[in-house]
């Protein structure tokens, strides 16, 4: 068969299967809606995760490292160490809290003024508050920085409250797994739904398939229109999924921006990027095509003229 004729036939079948969907839109649209809803759920979870990643990237000050110097160190050590740390690429800023400042703060905040006056000397050390650079604001990055700081001379204790951060990351990891699991399960669901729709299509067109086989059609030829129907189902379902995610993001973005502003954050909820949307369409078409291929291959083989 000439390539040109082959391409023309495929184009014709593609358009023909669209025509059939337009003629019987109810069943086709409900199949598309099922695909759309099934894909929208994992996509929404994924959008939530992407935004969580974006949001936690702004929380680097929460990773601040408190460095308590040895009380026996000279008071000139604090500025020297601060200067040394500021030179590191994984450090964004270093703030010095001298022992006197710390005591004054503590006296003001704690209400133990009289008790403190009883002490012969200031029990608090000089302190450096180190803010890691954005690139180092990960559990691993902060840990490396912590170890580096701890090994410096005159550093007594390094404190970092990473526990809750680690818990957050662990939680996000679990969510990421859940996204994959739901995506996998619902992907199988899409394959089954399309397979079932195609099976019913084939049963409805049984007589037609028999006639085609009588005049020499191969199973592949008889299957082709059903594969193209599935391409349309997948495309329609993908567009619906994309639309549902866009709608959900639009509905959530107002309240979330408001919440972010209360925290003084510029964070803005972000939907699917164009490339991601196209990937959704591609994936939807692929799943739908696979479902159709499995059902059509199986059921067309079973139809023989009698």
């Amino acid at each position: 068969m000439k390539l040109e004729a082959w391409l023309a036939r495929h184009a014709q079948t593609l358009v023909g299967s669209l025509g059939r969907i337009v003629q019987h839109p109810v069943g086709a649209v409900s199949t598309m809606a099922v695909i759309g809803v099934a894909l929208a759920l994992p996509l929404l979870l994924d959008v939530f995760l992407q935004n969580s990643d974006a949001a936690t990237a702004n929380w680097n000050q929460a990773f601040d490292i408190s460095v308590y110097l040895d009380k026996k160190a000279a008071s000139s050590r604090a500025p020297a160490l601060a200067k040394q740390l500021r030179a590191r690429p994984d450090v964004a800023a270093v703030r010095i809290i001298t022992a006197e400042e710390a005591l004054a703060q503590f006296r003001a905040a704690s209400g133990f003024g009289a008790a403190l006056d009883a002490l012969s000397d200031n029990p608090l050390p000089d302190t450096l508050v180190v803010t890691p650079a954005l690139s180092a604001s990960t559990p691993d990055g902060t840990l490396t920085l912590k170890q580096a700081v701890a090994s410096l001379a005159d550093v007594q204790t390094v404190q970092i409250d990473t526990d809750w951060v680690n818990r957050l990351y662990a939680l996000l990891d679990i969510l990421r797994r859940i996204v994959w699991l739901t995506a996998g399960l619902l992907g199988v669901g899409v394959i089954l739904v399309v397979g079932n729709t195609i099976r019913l299509d084939i049963l409805n067109r049984r007589a037609e398939i028999e006639v085609m086989k009588l005049v020499g059609a191969t199973d592949g030829f008889a299957r082709r229109p059903f594969l193209y129907s599935a391409v349309w189902y997948g495309l329609g379902g993908g567009v619906m999924a994309w639309g549902l995610v866009a709608l959900a993001v639009a509905l959530m973005s107002g309240p979330i921006d408001h919440l972010a502003s209360l925290y003084g954050s510029q964070f803005h909820l972000r939907g699917l990027r164009f490339a991601q949307g196209m990937a959704v369409l591609g994936g939807s078409v692929a799943l739908s095509w696979l479902g159709s291929w499995l059902a059509a291959t199986r059921h067309i083989r079973g139809i023989e003229p009698t």
């Binding site: 000439k2 040109e4 009588l214 005049v215 023989e304 009698t306």
Partner: protein, 226 residues
């Protein structure tokens, strides 16, 4: 062109449709298969078209032993023969032109060639200009001729027909048979199953009488009549 060699056909329900049937039909011959319902006429055509397979014995079509044709070879095999059915087996949701074009499209002919051949086939059956009509807009006789056009559009060397005049009144039946005769005149082997003995008396073609799945002599004559 066709040779049946000791062919038995028993269906799943236990009915034996053919019982040691042997006959042959030469290239370019026209033959009527006749006999009562259940005599085995349809079974013979189904074995020729590989819709059924013999339980025992061998069927040769165009010097090819059909027992050697695997299921995946069947589509290619069917493209070499034209088939006409009593109920036409047209696709009612497509226009006449598309129905006739179906075998060519399946075989992958380019569009220009398809259009040309479809017009030629419709012309041969007297339906030129009806390409855009739906089958149900046509009379039964016209629908049957669409079926014939579809059978001959691929220029097969063998044309088989199962009761092609079964639903037609006598005049239309005669016209239809004459149409088959015209294809036979240009060299196509034609095999027609029919119970209409009065109609086939008007044609100088070979008759094969069947009873209980065997070739039998006609009432008061030799095994076959010419």
């Amino acid at each position: 062109m066709i040779r049946f060699d000791q062919v038995y056909k028993r269906y799943a329900n236990g009915r034996e449709a053919l019982s040691g049937l042997s006959f042959s039909i030469g290239d370019g011959e026209m033959a009527f298969l006749t006999g009562h319902s259940g005599a085995g006429k349809s079974s013979i055509l189904k074995l020729i078209a590989l819709i059924e397979r013999p339980t025992r014995g061998q069927v040769f079509v165009g010097n090819q032993n059909t027992s050697g044709i695997k299921p995946r070879g069947i589509p290619q095999f069917r493209r070499q023969l034209g088939m006409v059915f009593q109920d036409h087996k047209l696709l009612h949701d497509r226009p006449v032109g598309d129905n006739v074009a179906l075998p060519l499209i399946i075989a992958g002919y380019p569009k220009r060639e398809v259009d040309k051949r479809v017009r030629a086939a419709l012309d041969q059956v007297g339906l030129l200009g009806k390409e855009k009509s739906r089958p149900l807009e046509l009379s039964t006789g016209e629908q049957q001729r669409v079926g014939i056009a579809r059978a001959v559009v691929g220029k097969p060397q063998l044309l088989i027909a199962d009761e092609p005049t079964g639903n037609l009144d006598p005049d239309l039946a005669l016209e239809t048979m004459q149409l088959f005769k015209r294809f036979n005149d240009v060299g196509v082997t034609v095999v027609i199953a029919t119970h209409d003995v009065h109609l086939i008396d008007r044609f100088a073609a070979r008759r094969i009488f069947l009873a209980d799945g065997r070739v039998v002599p006609p009432a008061g004559g030799a095994g076959e009549a010419r």
